[in-house]
């Protein structure tokens, strides 16, 4: 499986965020996306998900399931946790597992992996920010999808949980998965490519302002 982009351009609100972006990512490979605030890291991930329009260029997935769109083969871990405060930890995870059609909706193992199995009946409203993030990560473990798109995955996680996330990512890569992660810190992946988004075009727009 190979995900590649050629001459990818992103426009948000009439402003060019990045242009002429190329990358190629094969099975078992990871790429960390770096860049200043507003450089388009999140926009790039949302573009792969299919939530932001590709202004120019192409995104190609080779070797994926031809029956499915690119967006249907990715796990997107965004800034928002997509949890309902009035539902319990177990109900939240069971919903996403069921919605994504997990064959065996066994949520015990993923919850145990992120260390939330004792809170299974607690309403998500009472979770801390880090626990909410861990519950979102459990979603990636509960349903198998080949491409992980992680937007600042380590924010709000404590050191132990960050290391744990590193292990999940290494296991995913070892199983032939792909990872794209936007981050400012270290992810604990040894041989990840780096993709740096510069803001040349964006800065020019800013300087042109009176």
């Amino acid at each position: 499986m190979r995900l590649s982009a050629s001459d990818l351009t992103c426009r948000r609100g009439g402003r060019e965020v990045f242009a002429g972006l190329n990358f190629s990512l094969g099975s078992g490979e990871a790429v960390t996306i770096r860049g200043r605030n507003g450089a388009g890291k999140s926009s790039l991930l949302r573009m792969v998900v299919g939530l932001t329009r590709v202004a120019a260029g192409r995104l190609i997935l080779e070797g994926g399931d031809p029956e499915m769109t690119l967006g249907e083969q990715v796990h997107y871990l965004g800034h928002q946790d997509a949890l309902k405060p009035s539902l319990s930890v177990g109900e939240n995870l069971r919903f996403w597992a069921g919605f994504f059609g997990a064959a065996a909706a066994d949520i015990g193992a993923p919850l145990a992996a992120v260390g939330l199995e004792e809170l299974i009946d607690l309403p998500a409203a009472y979770l801390s920010a880090g626990q909410r993030r861990r519950l979102s990560i459990a979603r990636l473990l509960a349903v198998k999808r080949p491409i992980w798109l992680l937007d600042e995955p380590t924010s709000t996680l404590d050191t132990a949980a960050q290391q744990q996330l590193g292990e999940f990512m290494r296991a995913h890569l070892a199983g032939g998965g792909l990872i794209m992660a936007a981050t400012h810190g270290a992810l604990g992946l040894d041989n990840a490519q780096e993709l740096t988004l510069d803001r040349k075009s964006a800065l020019q727009t800013l300087e042109a302002l009176p």
Binding site: L51, E72, G98, F99
Partner: protein
């Protein structure tokens, strides 16, 4: 589990939990109808004559109440992004959410209507007709409302815009719903004539609503 069943079960759970909108609609309905006799005075003949219209107006406003949170909640917490990465077509997901909304706000109105009809001195025949028009007409209110809810999804105070957008579209449903209920009591038109039109309006909204709402959502998510 089927993705649509998962959405349906989740939305119904959220609606009946604390902060959900399930009981708000039916309570609002009861309050509005209860206030009417106080405003109009104890003229039983008048109340019985305008009773169906009052009940229909109250039901229309009550079904709008929880509607603005239908997609806005999922948009704000990022659920909508993930729903779009699912394999189920957005049109069917919108329809499943509409069904969940109707089961938690429309159905309680239908159950409460006969009880509250007593306050307006409706006889058995009028109540039966009214319940029948509610059963057929309230799904149309929800599914027309889906369109407004989808258009207002990114707005912070979408509720007001929603009412302005949706209420004009519900006028035909209101006209034929009240006409059918009145026809059963007063005549001279047979009950079947306006009732058939009401059925047609509902069927059309069941088809058009999800497609229009899904198109609006896709546009908003850009």
């Amino acid at each position: 589990m089927n993705p649509l069943a998962a959405i349906l079960v989740r939305d119904m759970r959220i609606a009946v939990r604390v902060g959900g909108g399930a009981l708000i609609g039916v309570l609002f309905f009861l309050v509005v109808v209860t206030l009417t006799p106080f405003a109009l005075g104890p003229d039983i003949a008048l109340l019985a004559r305008i009773g169906p219209a009052i009940l229909w107006l109250a039901a229309l406003l009550a079904s709008l109440l929880a509607l603005d949170r239908l997609f806005a909640g999922d948009h704000e917490d990022g659920s909508l992004d993930l729903i779009l990465t699912g394999r189920a077509p957005l049109e069917l997901i919108v329809a499943a959410k509409g069904l969940a909304h109707w089961l938690t706000t429309g159905l309680p109105l239908i159950i409460a209507a006969p009880l509250i009809g007593l306050l307006l001195d409706l006889d058995g025949r009028a109540e039966a007709a009214l319940v029948l028009t509610f059963l057929v007409g309230t799904p149309a209110l929800t599914f027309i409302g889906l369109i407004g809810a989808a258009i207002a999804v990114t707005l912070r105070r979408g509720g007001l815009l929603l009412a302005v957008l949706v209420l004009p579209l519900t006028v035909p449903v209101l006209i034929f719903g009240v006409a059918a209920a009145n026809a059963a009591v007063i005549g001279p038109v047979p009950f079947g004539t306006p009732f058939t039109v009401l059925c047609a309006l509902t069927l059309a909204s069941l088809v058009v609503g999800p497609f229009a709402a899904a198109a609006a959502l896709r546009q908003e998510m850009e």
